[in-house]
Every structure is written in C-alpha cells, then in structure tokens.
C-alpha cells in the first residue's frame, strides 16, 4: 500500500505517495520528472543514478524511496545555482570534453561533488578510487579524471 512521505529535493519540499518497493530513482524520474538522474542497470552496479542524500553519494536505484523520509536530496537538476549559473564541476566536465553520450554524466558529476566535499584536493589515485563505482562506456575515463582534477583546482 502506498505511503505518503516528505523529503526535500533540490531545496524544495516534496510530499508524495510511494509504494514500499519503489526506489528513490523511480520516484525522482517517474513521479517528480527529474529525469536527469539516469537508470542504467537498476541494480546498483553502474552509478548512473547517483544522487546526494544529506551530502553523501548514494545509488538511488537501490535506495528505497521510503527511506528518504526527511532527507535532503540533491540531483543534477539542483546543482546549478538558482540563477542558472553552472557548478564548477559541470563547467569542468564541459570544458575538458569529459562528456560523450552523456548518460553516465549526471552520476559522475554527483559522485564528484561528494568526493570534493570530502576531499577538496584529491590526487588521481583518489579520484579513480572514489569514482570506481561509476561506469562509462564512451570515454575510457581519462577525460573524466582530468575534469575532476581540474574542477578541484578551479
């Protein structure tokens, strides 16, 4: 049976009826039309669905929506500033050609955001380690690593 839950998404309070088996990714995409969060494997293996919950990177496809009660969620749509200015990580991904098909990009950017909050000045080793759970089939990762390091310096 559906339950009403409340949480904050990108600074806005949301009240929504969810089935107990729905994932947070499902609710974001299907109920809130926040399709910037991608679902690729739907099994927690690829990181495309990564969002921040209370500042921590979480794979939203295996995170039950009902667990999000009272939580503060940030998705790719909430990353730019209110006046539309890009976040430095987004700028860096664009300028460093770290984007190809773009389906892994929101997850990569959100994981990077969590990384830089924990470790504002990571080295390449630390970037590789932290982003290991985010898969990309297009880039071979080199330009993503470069974009992350570049945005840390920005």
């Amino acid at each position: 049976m559906k339950r009403i839950i409340k949480f904050v998404v990108n600074g806005f309070e949301k009240e929504i009826a969810v089935e107990p088996w729905w994932s947070l990714a499902h609710v974001l995409r299907e109920e809130l039309d926040l399709t910037g969060t991608k679902v690729s494997c739907n099994e927690g293996d690829c990181g495309a669905c990564t969002v921040l919950i209370d500042g921590k990177a979480v794979k939203s496809c295996i995170y039950p929506a009902i667990k999000a009660i009272g939580k503060n969620i940030l998705t790719i749509e909430g990353l730019s500033s209110k006046n539309g200015e890009l976040h430095k990580i987004q700028e860096s991904f664009i300028e460093n050609f770290a984007i190809q098909c773009g389906y892994c990009t929101p997850g990569m950017i959100m994981t990077t955001k969590a990384l830089l909050e924990e470790n504002p000045n990571p080295n390449e080793e630390e970037v590789r380690e932290y982003l290991q759970g985010n898969l990309c089939r297009c880039t071979g990762y080199k330009k993503i690593v470069e974009a992350v390091l570049y945005s840390a310096k920005k």
Binding site: G36, Y103, C104, E129, L135, G140, V145
Partner: protein
C-alpha cells in the same frame, strides 16, 4: 586546401551543456500523456516448441489493457539481410530471451505482475550451440528450417551454402594462387584465435515509445542507431503508410552497434491494439539477451612468409555464430574480411567466412564490425611469425604494408594510408627494444600492432540547410547523435563553409524521419565522411542560393561573391555588401515576422558514395573500374597501438600500465573529440581484452548483468600521464576537408598489442580472449 578556421579546432561540443545539466532528453527519459507501460515475457529455453499459451488470467488483472502473443503479430518477419525475426514467437523459440508475449498496462508494476500470470507450455528441443557443429552439413539442430525461403532484407549480405542448413552467409575472397604461395614460403604457421561474446553495455538501455496518431499514423521514439533504415524495416512489417510513419530520437545513450534485433514492433503492436501510447523500456538483462553482442568469432589463420618477413600467402577461415537471428551477422561476415584486406600486401590470399545460426542470445554488429576480431588474430600472428624469423615485430609489419596506389586483395587501389606514420610514432613512443624492468612477481613487456577499419560503401546521405532571418544557419541531417559528436562535426563543417562562427549554427537535435532528409545514419565510422559531406554540399547549395538573391541587390554575379560572418560581399570590393537579414522583407501587415519573396533560403544536397561492388564468390571488384580509382569501400582509417603491461606470475593478473595510440583519420574535424574516440576505444578494448566475457553454456546465459559481467572501470585504465593519443593525417581525396572516420578503429589492435606484450613479458601466448588471470596461469603451467 585553404586555411581552415572552424574545422580542425577543438570547439566545445554543442550537446555538452544539456548533458552536464541533466536536461538532455533520451528516449528512455520520455513520457507521453496517456502512456501505457509494456513488459515482455521471454523464453527461458534455448530451443523449444510452444505448445500452448494461456493469457486469460493476465488479461483479467486490473490495470492490464492488452496482452499479445505471436497470434496477434503480423506474419511478416523483420531483420537485416535475412528477414528471420518474428515480433513475437509464433510456434518455436530459438534462444533464451526470445519474446513470447507482451503486456501493456497502466504502470510498470502491473505489467510486471501480469507476466507472471501468463502460462506458456513448451516442449524443449535439442539445440545447436557449438559454431562448428552449427556450420556442418548435419548439425545437432537447424535453427530456421525454412531459411532458404526467407525474404531478403535491406541491410547487408546473405549467401547460402545449401548443404549447410544453419549458414546464412558465406563470403569468399580469392586472390592469387594460394597453393603456389605456400610452396614459395620459407615458413608456414597455422593457429586458431578466438574471442568472447562482448556486450555493448551502452549506459542507456533500449527504449521505445510508440504513439498512435489521430490520422492513422504512428510516431515512434526509439533508442537505436540508423533511424531511416530502421523505419523502412518496421514500415514493411506493418504496411504502414510511409508519410504517416515516423521515427524520432534526440540523443542515444551510447551506440557501438547495438540494437541488432527489432523489438520496437512489440511496442507498436501494443499501441495499435490499445490505441494508446506505449513505452517499452528494457531491463539490463534484456539488453544483454536482445541487444546484440559482439560475435564470439573463431578465426583460423595460416600464414606463409619468406625469411625476410614478406608475406607470400595467407589463408583465413572465420566462423561467426549469430544467435537466433541474422541481425547484421551477414554484413559482419563479409565486412570483417576487410580487416585482412586494408593493411598488408598479400600476394596470395584465400578467405572464407561463415555466418551461422546457433540457439544462443543474438549477436551482430559491434564497434569494428568484425574487423576487431579478425585483426586480433592477424596482429597476434604477425608477432609469432616475427619471432620465428628472428626479426622485430615492427620490421615484419613495415615490410608488408600496402602503399598508395597499390591494389589490395579485393582489387581496390589503396588510397590514403597513414599506417606507416602511425607505426613510426608508436615505435618512438613505446621504444620496443628497451626491455622494461620487472619487479618481484610483476614481469613487464611491450607490444605493438597496426590495424585498419574501412568505412562502408555504397551509401547515401542527404542534408538540408536553412538560412534564418537573423543569418542563423540551421542544419538538418540524419546522423544519430550517440555520443560520438556528429552534431558538433556537422556544425563545424557548416560554420566553415559559411565562414561563420560556430554559435551561428544550430543543428536540429531531434531527429525526426518526417523532417530530416534520408541518411543511412551513424554506423561504420561513416558519419564524418558521409553525413559530413552531405552537410558540406547542402551548405554550398544554400550559399549559392544566398548569392543568387544577393545578386539582385548588389548587381554582382554569384561567382564574384563571398560570405563571412553573415555579410555577403563582392570579392574585389568588400564595401559592396549586404547582410543576410536584409534579404528578408520586413514586418508586414497581417502578422509579425519576416519572409522572403522567393520562399525559404535553403540548401539541399545528396552525398552518394558509390562503390565498385565485389563478387561474393571471390571478393574481386571490376578491374577496369578499379583502375579508374573506383573503390569497394569509402575509405580506410589506419592506426598503430602500443602497450606496456605488467603480468603477475603468481596471480596471473595483467595490468596495462602504458598505452599509446596513433590514429590516421585524415583531417581531424575536432581534435579533442577525436581524442575522446581514441580514449573510449582504449577503455572498451582493455575490457574486451582482459575482462569481458558474456558466458552462455548450452544456450543458457550466465551473467546478463553488470555485477557478473564487468566492463572496464577507472582502475583498469593506465594513469592519465601514461595514455598517449596521436593523430596522423593521411588526407582522403573525397572526405570533407580530407577527413575520414576512425572511431571504430580506435579499439582495434589493442587486444593483440596486450597479448604481444604479455608474450614479451612472460613468454606465453594467449590466443583466446579475454586474457583472464586463469588463462595466464594455465598457460604458464603448460610452459613449465
């Protein structure tokens, strides 16, 4: 060639902003009012007869709008070269994953529940799984008993061997006299090389939204390469009126040759029955089962060489297991041969390749279209020959290169071959003669290869360019934007022709077959060459049209006009000029907006790359036409790859520590985007070489998910400073600004370079991909 101002510059990708902010629309993201959700019941058996399907319980489940089975589907079959695919199985299933029934329901939860209520009774049949068994004259099972009566499809090639009931394509090349060649040889070596089934693993799963239109037409959003050709296949299936049936796509979340089988018709069938929009979104497991996989090829190679390393004879036989559907295997079976054609001078060649049906999940096109697997064998074998002859791997390759103007084994005169320069660059990068240091259990070695990838012909693209009232240039083309950057490439080409800045160009992001002119689409590394050429010509046409209109105002013939930054001017007197907006009439009574008296200012063009076709029995093209330079393929991109690996002799682990790639692509349109392709090729190739193996045992797939089937991740790549991409520019006379496509070739030859480096490190030769720790340890044990 004149000085270029936009082409050749690394302008920022025009799709990057949308993709970085999450607003880029993929078909899998879309919703339509009133939309139903589909789910498909699939065969759990590799080969079985359907005895009975009971769907009554599913139909009674609240929220279920429609349940369809094979009985409801058209009798016609879909496919590429052979029309062998049923939308829903009618009486027999030929692989695990074959669609048997489909449901449309109010939401995905109900659709899923409904599947569990459908009862299918099967009678299991013996299957055929081993490719050699499948291609024999008396195989364990015949996958399509009625094969020889199937209709021919629109893509690719089929050629039956009527005594081999599972063979749907047999391609041959005969050049020179193979027996005489081997008699002349000082050394003959013969080996078998194999590869695993590899999944494309695009991050976006397959998705379709079929929307019935009020006029009886149908609009279908797809997530697939080749929009226009796909439309042709589906239209024929349902006898839809061509002008009322359209396919749409904005961005494709990765291509790599995916989408071999047609499941879009399932959504269309449900939409027709319910008269509601229907969305069908694949699970990751379905992508593995039905997305098409790289063909796990068996390549037998026999080479004859002289003492100095020159090749005198080469015999290759390749078997390509296709799964239950031909699904592009016909094309791959022929075109994989070009991997053996494009690089080396081979005085005597005998080539045979066979596409065969097996009762396993479908395979088909995959980045490289078979050249990758063939060149894996060739480039491993070149090293084995070199060692036996005691010459260097670089020398044996250099000795045998084709040169400009020289005929290859199809009889085509070589043009635009940058392989030697690629190899030189990689030799300097990897320094093959300096043995790297080994430490403890880690032994290091180096490997180097060369490779080629053709771009197909014949094929055509049209493009249209419209000049807007503010001087903006709007480009309509049919290249699928799947991450490779075709939209940006087309924008750069348009900006170059108009001497405009890139921000004056918009490329229609939604590809809609009703609005974008025909183009074959993105495949075969053809986008830059074919679509780019069509856009270039359409821009020239639009420029011409502009000049004709300006002629009246300036009193100067078009030949004496030029354009820059939206200003049309007299070449010898730039002060005599007119700006594009001045060609439009101003605001008029009756409404806002501007117009011209002669209709829209548009440019229109077709780029047709004809070819000199080959005889499928011997691969030979017409020699007279060949002498005039008429080619079999559009172009060949060339490359060299060099790696340094560390191999742990205790665990068998292999690490690629350093990699260099030199890719010959003629004129790079956007060098940074070319690096993207080069690096993406490296990532994918390391996965296919060391990790990826989609395992199927007796027809049962074992790892249809990202947990058990791992693709390369950050940690599998060398550190950034140890990855080197170089560009070689052997211009192509027919490419736009001298460009040719190379993106598939970006991954070719890396597998063999790794195997060669492993041999260099520990003295064992692995001939079966992927090179897992188990295989390395086993080989080391056998060596002892």
């Amino acid at each position: 060639m004149g000085k270029l101002s936009v082409v050749g510059k690394s302008v920022v990708r025009i799709d990057a902003l949308e993709k970085a902010t999450g607003v880029a629309q993929f078909t899998s993201d879309l919703k339509v009012p009133g939309m139903l959700h589909a789910n498909v019941l699939r065969s759990p058996h590799p080969h079985a007869k359907i005895i009975d399907i009971d769907k009554s319980k599913a139909e009674q489940l609240p929220g279920v709008k429609c349940v369809v089975t094979g009985e409801d589907a058209p009798d016609k079959r879909a496919g590429s070269a052979v029309l062998d695919q049923q939308i829903l199985a009618k009486d027999v299933v030929n692989a695990v994953g074959d669609p048997v029934a489909a449901v449309a329901a109010d939401n995905i939860d109900i659709a899923e529940e409904a599947l569990e209520l459908i009862n299918v009774k099967y009678e299991e049949l013996p299957g055929v799984f081993d490719p050699e068994d499948a291609m024999s004259t008396s195989p364990s099972a015949v996958v399509h008993p009625d094969l020889f009566n199937y209709e021919k499809g629109p893509f690719g090639h089929r050629r039956f061997d009527f005594d081999k009931p599972n063979v749907m394509m047999h391609y041959s090349i005969r050049s020179g006299d193979i027996d005489e060649g081997f008699r002349d040889a000082d050394l003959i070596m013969e080996d078998r090389f194999t590869t695993a089934r590899v999944q494309h693993c695009t991050m976006e799963p397959n998705a379709t939204i079929a929307i019935p239109e009020a006029d009886g037409g149908m609009t279908v959003w797809v997530a697939k390469q080749l929009l226009h050709p796909t439309r042709t296949v589906i239209r024929n299936l349902f006898d839809l009126e061509p002008s009322k049936f359209r396919l749409k796509m904005k961005y494709l979340g990765g291509g790599f040759g995916r989408g071999a089988v047609f499941e879009e018709p399932i959504a269309i069938l449900l939409a027709m029955k319910t008269k509601r929009p229907v969305k069908l979104l694949f699970t990751r497991e379905e992508v593995f089962l039905r997305g098409g996989n790289r063909i796990p090829m068996i390549v037998d190679i026999k080479d004859g060489v002289k003492k100095d390393g020159s090749l005198v004879a080469r015999e290759i036989s390749a078997i390509l297991p296709s799964g239950p559907s031909e699904a592009f295997t016909g094309l791959v079976t022929r075109n994989c041969a070009f991997g053996a054609v494009g690089t080396y001078r081979i005085p005597n060649l005998k080539w045979d390749s066979y596409g065969v049906y097996v009762n396993e999940p479908t395979t088909g096109g995959f980045r490289g279209l078979g050249s990758t697997q063939v060149e894996w064998a060739i480039e491993s074998h070149m090293d084995m020959l070199a060692e036996k002859l005691n010459i260097s791997p670089v020398e044996i390759r250099r000795k045998n290169f084709l040169h400009e103007g020289e005929p290859n084994v199809n009889g085509e005169l070589t043009h635009s071959i940058g392989v030697e320069e690629c190899l030189d660059k990689m030799e300097r990068f990897i320094k093959p003669d300096e043995k790297p240091k080994s430490e403890g259990m880690w032994r290091r070695g180096k490997g180097i290869t060369v490779s080629n990838k053709y771009t197909l012909a014949p094929s055509a693209d049209m493009a249209r360019v419209k000049i807007a009232e503010d001087g903006g240039i709007v480009v309509y083309h049919a290249g699928d934007e799947m991450g490779q950057g075709i939209d940006t490439v087309c924008a750069q080409i348009a900006a170059e022709v108009f001497h405009a800045s890139i921000d004056k160009v918009s490329v229609n992001a939604v590809k809609d077959t009703l609005h974008v002119p025909y183009g074959m689409g993105s495949c075969s590394s053809r986008g830059t060459y074919h679509t780019g050429n069509a856009v270039r010509l359409a821009c020239e046409d639009a420029k011409n049209s502009l000049f004709k209109r300006a002629q009246e105002k300036l009193g100067i013939a078009p030949d004496n006009l030029e354009i820059k930054d939206g200003v049309i001017y007299e070449k010898n007197n730039p002060d005599n000029n007119i700006k594009i907006p001045e060609l439009f009439v101003g605001y008029t009574l009756g409404g806002y907006g501007t117009y011209t008296l002669d209709g829209e200012i548009i440019g229109n063009a077709t780029f047709l790359q004809t070819n000199n076709p080959d005889n499928p029995e011997n691969g030979q093209i017409d020699p007279e036409r060949a002498a005039k330079g008429e080619r079999l393929n559009a172009s060949y991109a060339h490359s060299s790859k060099a790696v340094e690996v560390a191999v742990n002799i205790e665990t068998g682990e292999v690490k690629v520590e350093k990699i260099g790639v030199a890719n010959d692509m003629g004129q790079p349109i956007n060098p940074k985007m070319c690096e993207q392709q080069a690096e993406g090729g490296i990532g994918m190739a390391i996965g296919a070489a060391l990790i990826e193996d989609y395992r199927v045992e007796n027809g049962i797939p074992l790892n249809s998910n990202f947990h058990d089937y791992r693709i390369s991740s950050f940690g599998d790549m060398p550190y950034s400073k140890n990855i080197k991409e170089e560009i070689v520019t052997a211009f192509h006379k027919d490419g736009p600004f001298g460009a040719k496509g190379f993106s598939e070739g970006a991954m070719i030859g890396i597998d063999a370079a790794i195997a060669n480096a492993i041999y260099n490190a520990i003295g064992v030769r692995i001939k079966d991909l992927p090179i897992t720790p188990e295989k390395v340890l086993r080989a080391l044990k056998e060596e002892r």
